[in-house]
């Protein structure tokens, strides 16, 4: 299946129509996060239609195809990053090599899983990690080693934090399928990556409120919108007690939020050549 066709079908709200230009996609990207689902989930769930929160397509195949698309993106990004000569030797090189191996393994794992289920894996798209010229993470256009490295790290952070949230958003679609546990196992690996990349950038490993963090381009804000949620299972976790564990900062750090499939697609689409 063609990647764009797949993404288009996945995007139930038709966020990216055939006529949408890349510039308009940026606009969509910017406004999407504002409607990030902050649905409260009461624990007395009998009173609540269960579909109001869980991602609603209930289709494990679509969830895996979306996951594969995101893994294609990460895999190619890390491979190009390692080839670019932009990454300094030492810790950064070691970190990028380890992550790159994992992303490559995830691509193969998901492809095999889909094929094993009798489904043709979505094709690998053509990526543009400059996002139409907005970035130069591999120093291809000569932005300079230092600036390129900063952009490369920033994009890594955005991709990893997106990956964590996107997998989490698909958990409901994978429930009851054999793919749930492996998807959770990938999800936590993405979180390990995200933490280390953030720490490489001098940030905490976790997300505070909806802050994208120092030095992150504003275009990455949709990755963080919605992370300021403090209502978990219908409980405002800032009201559970007193002291430092219940500040808004701590209460938002302690829980990562989901991205819906639509939101994840909108972010990934920035880097996919139509």
């Amino acid at each position: 299946m063609n990647i764009i066709k797949f993404l288009d079908e996945f995007t139930t709200e038709k966020l990216i129509s055939d006529t949408t230009s890349r510039r308009e996609i940026f606009g969509t990207f910017g406004s999407l996060g504002k409607k990030a689902a902050l649905a409260a989930i009461p624990f007395g769930l009998a009173t609540m239609p269960s579909r109001t929160y869980a991602q609603s397509s209930g289709d494990p195949v679509s969830a895996l195809q979306l996951a594969l698309t995101l893994e294609y993106l990460e895999d190619e990004f890390y491979e190009l990053a390692l080839q670019s000569g932009v990454i300094p030797s030492g810790r950064s090189q070691i970190v990028y090599q380890q992550i790159s191996q994992h992303e490559a393994a995830h691509v193969e794992f998901l492809k095999a899983g889909l094929q094993g289920a009798g489904v043709t894996p979505v094709e690998k798209p053509t990526f543009d990690f400059t996002a139409g010229g907005a970035f130069d993470p591999f120093n291809d256009s000569g932005v300079g080693q230092e600036a390129a490295y900063a952009q490369l790290l920033a994009l890594s952070q955005a991709f990893e934090d997106t990956g964590v949230r996107a997998y989490k958003g698909q958990a409901g679609n994978l429930q009851g399928s054999q793919f749930l546990t492996p998807a959770l196992q990938i999800h936590s690996v993405e979180a390990r990556h995200a933490s280390e990349i953030r720490r490489l950038r001098g940030l905490n490993g976790w997300i505070t409120r909806d802050q994208r963090g120092l030095g992150m381009p504003e275009a990455t804000q949709p990755v963080y919108n919605g992370e300021e949620n403090v209502i978990q299972g219908g409980v405002n976790v800032t009201n559970l007690g007193d002291g430092s564990p219940f500040t808004i900062d701590a209460s938002t750090q302690a829980y990562d939020e989901i991205l819906t499939g639509d939101e994840a697609v909108a972010i990934a689409s920035l880097f996919i050549v139509p």
Binding site: R91, G172, Q185, S188, R192, S195, V235, V237, P245, E257
Partner: protein, 243 residues
């Protein structure tokens, strides 16, 4: 603060064998070892556990109680960390990091407490009680011991949530578990990175498979036997209805 004294306490006749048998049969019992207990004074005596040992229960409630147990363990550990001399003298970066972990785990613990209370309603006996812990074997004045223990607990948390996801029926609980497990994984990564900064340990080959890039996922029975092995949990409970 009075110095803890590690005493070897002989369980009363036959008790030890019975308890070992109990562990072996169920494979799931979480038991304080009863052999090595930190006592605050020499007058402490060994108190045999009550006969009615709490069982975590089945289904979603069983998993919530299970998560509550693990979050209690982590929260109690970090509470002791931030009251220890390693933490008070640590460099600002490590101090903040461990304070963050304390904050998050206490929040998680109290969240599960509230969530389970809401889920069980009037049936309060179905909620896991507050557990007693004994970190007597950990020197909270020692950086290496604190960080090494934190690493074990965080990796254990990741493996536990990853393995328990499939046991949940309610999709909303599944998403909640997902919201927490990724933060546990961020913790595990950060602690590993602090222990060995210029390495791939943050997502090391000891926890992430090389061929498929998959993190740990363990059944409750496996996790609980790992936890038993730490000797940190004093209060007995069982998980007879979880795999």
């Amino acid at each position: 603060m009075k110095k803890n004294v590690i005493k070897v306490i002989q369980p009363k006749g036959g008790k030890f064998n019975q308890r070992r048998q109990f562990l072996k049969l169920s494979g799931l019992a979480l038991v304080g070892t009863g052999l090595f207990m930190a006592c605050s004074n020499d007058d402490d005596v060994y108190t045999p556990p009550e006969d009615d040992v709490f069982d975590l229960g089945a289904g979603d409630l069983g998993v919530l109680n299970y998560a509550f147990a693990l979050e209690q363990l982590e929260a109690d550990f970090y509470t002791k960390v931030v009251n220890g001399s390693y933490w008070s003298g640590a460099n600002p970066t490590e101090k903040q990091l461990l304070l963050d972990l304390y904050n998050h785990e206490v929040n998680h613990r109290d969240f599960f407490s509230a969530a389970i209370s809401a889920a069980v309603g009037n049936n309060t006996a179905a909620k896991l009680p507050t557990l007693e812990f004994d970190f007597g074997s950990v020197n909270f004045n020692d950086r290496n011991q604190v960080l090494a223990t934190a690493k074990v607990l965080e990796d254990t948390g990741v493996s536990a949530y990853n393995g328990a996801g499939r046991l949940l029926s309610n999709p909303d609980y599944l998403v909640l578990a997902g919201k927490i497990v990724s933060v546990e994984a961020r913790h595990a990564s950060a602690i590993r990175s602090v222990i060995n900064p210029n390495s791939a340990d943050f997502a090391g080959d000891d926890v992430v498979t090389i061929d498929a890039g998959l993190d740990l996922a363990l059944d409750p029975s496996e996790v609980l036997s790992n936890v038993v092995a730490t000797g940190f949990v004093v209060t007995e409970f069982t998980a007879n209805s979880l795999p």
